[in-house]
C-alpha cells in the first residue's frame, strides 16, 4: 500500500491501481453523506479532481493520483456513502485506474512515512 499527501491510499495489482482514502481522512471528514464518482473509461491526469465527497460539514474532493484511465468505480458508495466511514481502507475504495508506468508509484509514501506525515 502506498499513500499520497492528499490522504489517499493506493493499492497496485498489475497495471491497475485501486484508490481510496485513509482512515485518518475519513475521520477528519466526518459522516460522509454523498459521493460522486467519475465515469468509467475516462482518461484522467494526475491532480484532476475526479471524486466529490461530502460530509455533513463540507464538500471535498479526491484527485487522480496518477495519469491513466478509470476502469472501475465503486457504485456501492453512491448508494451507501457511510461506507467511507465504516470501512475506508476496504469496502470503500473509490475507483480503479489503469496506469502506464508503475514506477510512478515509487514516489509515494509507505505506511511508516504516511504515519509520520499525519503525526502518528
Amino acid at each position: 500500500m502506498k499513500y499520497t499527501e492528499d490522504h489517499e491510499w493506493l493499492s497496485l495489482d498489475g497495471d491497475i491501481v485501486t484508490v481510496g482514502i485513509t482512515e485518518y481522512a475519513a475521520t477528519q471528514l466526518g459522516d460522509v453523506v454523498f459521493v460522486e464518482l467519475p465515469e468509467i473509461e475516462t482518461q484522467v491526469a494526475r491532480g484532476d479532481e475526479i471524486v466529490v465527497i461530502e460530509s455533513v460539514k463540507a464538500a471535498s474532493d479526491i484527485v487522480a493520483p496518477l495519469d491513466g484511465e478509470i476502469v472501475e468505480i465503486n457504485e456501492a458508495l453512491v448508494d451507501n456513502p457511510a461506507l467511507v466511514n465504516d470501512d475506508p481502507t476496504g469496502a470503500a475504495w473509490f475507483f480503479k485506474i489503469k496506469i502506464e508506468d508503475d514506477a510512478a508509484l515509487d514516489e509515494f509514501m509507505d505506511e511508516d512515512e504516511y504515519k509520520d506525515h499525519i503525526g502518528e
Binding site: 492528499d6 481522512a25 466526518g30 460530509s55 460539514k57 471535498s60 499525519i118
Partner: protein
C-alpha cells in the same frame, strides 16, 4: 438558547466555514462550487477572526470531551465532539444537547433604553412585557440588516444577545445612540436543546419547568444567578443559560452527568438551525438584504408598521414598510434538492435547466440529518412562481430543487 435566529453557524462557503481545522485533509469548496486549493489548509475565512484566539471558559472541558475545535470569530470553538455531527444532531432532536455558545455577545442596557432601542430595531419593544424576550434585527438606512439579536425585558435591565462576529460592531452601534451600554464579560452562555431539555434542566433548576417559549427568568443554582430564557436555535424546545464564568464548568458538568444530555458542537448547531429554517446572519441576511426578504418580516410588530402606534422610526423604515405593503424584490424559500447532492451556500439558482438569467442563490444548504437528505434555504426573485422547480448550478450541472415551506422539521417549542 437566547439566540434563535442568529448565532453564527458555520457553513461551507467562501464566507464562513465550520469544520475546517488545520489538519483537515480536504479543502472546502468555495461558494460557487469550484474548488479551492486543497490539502491541509485552513479554509476558515471569517474576517472577524482575531490573530490570537480567545479560549472559551469551558475550553478544558471541551478538550476532555474530545472536541475538535476550530477558530470562529476570534474564538476557538468546538465544532464537534467524539460522536460526530450526524449523531450529535440526531441526539439533540430526540434527547437533550448541551452547546457552549459563550462566544456570543451578552449586552446589558438600562430599562430606560427600550424606547431608544426601538430607534434601531423594527420590533415592538415597548410592548414587550417584563419577563419576555423578543427577536429583532438592527437595520441600516437602506433597509438592510446589521445583525439579528434577542432582546430580553428583565426586572432590572434589558439584556441583548448578539452574534459573536458582530459583537464589536453592535456595541459601537448601540453606544452611538444609547447611554449605559454594558458588555457582559464575566458570564458564559450555554444552550440546552431538545425534547428532554426541560426535564434535565429542571432536575437542577426546578423553576424552568414553568417557563414558556421566550420567557426569561433569573433562577438560582448553587449560589449563582442563572439568566435563563426558554428559546433556542435548533427548532427544539430548550433553554439558553447565561451563567457566571465561575460556575460555568460546574453547571456544564452537572448537566452532562444526566444520561439524557450530550455535548453538541457548532457543526450540529448549524445543521439543526438549517432544518429549523432559522436564519444565520451573514448568510440569510446581511447589510444588503432586508428582514422582509429574509423572511423575518414577522418580527416587525404591528405597532411599528404603517398605521401602527409607533410606525417607522427605525433606520430604513421607508424601504422596509414599503416592502411590507407592496412586497419585497426577493423572497426567502425552503428548497429540497431532488437528487442526493447537497447544495451549499452560494450555489446559483435558475428557473430553467439551461439558459436564462440567474434568479437567486442558495444562502445556506447542506445535509439535513433528520430529513435524511439535502436541504437548503435560498433567496430568489419574488416573482418566481411558488410551484416552480428551480435549478442549482452545481459543479457546472443544473440540478433540480423543489420549493417547500420552512421549516423542514416541525418545531418543538413549548408555547
Amino acid at each position: 438558547m437566547w439566540v434563535s435566529a442568529s448565532a453564527e453557524g458555520i457553513t461551507i462557503s467562501g464566507e464562513r466555514t465550520e469544520g475546517a481545522s488545520q489538519t483537515r485533509p480536504f479543502a472546502a469548496k468555495n461558494d460557487a462550487g469550484r474548488l479551492r486549493a486543497w490539502k491541509g489548509r485552513n479554509t476558515m475565512t471569517d474576517d472577524a477572526i482575531a490573530p490570537s484566539l480567545t479560549a472559551l471558559p469551558l475550553a478544558a472541558l471541551h478538550v476532555e470531551l474530545g472536541a475538535k475545535c476550530v477558530p470562529f470569530a476570534g474564538w476557538s470553538m468546538p465544532v464537534q465532539y467524539a460522536q460526530g455531527v450526524m449523531a450529535e444532531h440526531l441526539w439533540t432532536r430526540s434527547h437533550a444537547g448541551l452547546f457552549d455558545v459563550s462566544h456570543m455577545g451578552q449586552v446589558r442596557l438600562p430599562k430606560s433604553a427600550l424606547a431608544a432601542l426601538e430607534g434601531l430595531i423594527p420590533a415592538d419593544l415597548l410592548g414587550l412585557p417584563e419577563g419576555r424576550q423578543r427577536y429583532g434585527v438592527f437595520t441600516n438606512d437602506a433597509g438592510g440588516v446589521l445583525d439579528d439579536l434577542m432582546v430580553a425585558h428583565r426586572a432590572d435591565d434589558i439584556l441583548l444577545i448578539v452574534n459573536a462576529a458582530r459583537h464589536a460592531h453592535d456595541l459601537a452601534h448601540l453606544r452611538a445612540h444609547i447611554a449605559g451600554v454594558e458588555a457582559v464579560t464575566d458570564r458564559a452562555l450555554l444552550a440546552l436543546q431538545g425534547p428532554e431539555a426541560e426535564a434535565a434542566l429542571a432536575a437542577l433548576v426546578p423553576g424552568v419547568a414553568a417557563m414558556r417559549f421566550m420567557d426569561v427568568a433569573v433562577l438560582p443554582w448553587q449560589g449563582a444567578d442563572l439568566w435563563i430564557s426558554r428559546s433556542g436555535y435548533t427548532g427544539e424546545d430548550g433553554f439558553e443559560i447565561s451563567v457566571p464564568v465561575t460556575h460555568a464548568e460546574g453547571l456544564a458538568r452537572a448537566l452532562l452527568s444526566d444520561a439524557r444530555v450530550a455535548p453538541i458542537g457548532l457543526g450540529a448547531r448549524d445543521s439543526l438551525r438549517l432544518e429549523a429554517g432559522l436564519p444565520l446572519y451573514g448568510q440569510e441576511m446581511d447589510e444588503t438584504t432586508s428582514p422582509v426578504e429574509a423572511g423575518q418580516g414577522w418580527s416587525i410588530g404591528r405597532a411599528r408598521r404603517a398605521g401602527g402606534a409607533r410606525a417607522g422610526g427605525f433606520p430604513g423604515a421607508e424601504v422596509i414598510l414599503d416592502q411590507l405593503a407592496q412586497g419585497a424584490p426577493r423572497r426567502r424559500v425552503g428548497l429540497l434538492p431532488e437528487g442526493r447532492a447537497p447544495m451549499r451556500a452560494g450555489v446559483a439558482l435558475f428557473a430553467a435547466p439551461e439558459g436564462d438569467a440567474q434568479i437567486g442563490h442558495i444562502t445556506s444548504g447542506g445535509f439535513g440529518p433528520s430529513v435524511g437528505g439535502p436541504v437548503a434555504i435560498g433567496l430568489i426573485a419574488a416573482e418566481t412562481p411558488a410551484d416552480a422547480t428551480l435549478f442549482g448550478d452545481l459543479r457546472g450541472k443544473r440540478l433540480a430543487l423543489r420549493q417547500v415551506p420552512l421549516p423542514f422539521v416541525p418545531p418543538g417549542f413549548k408555547r
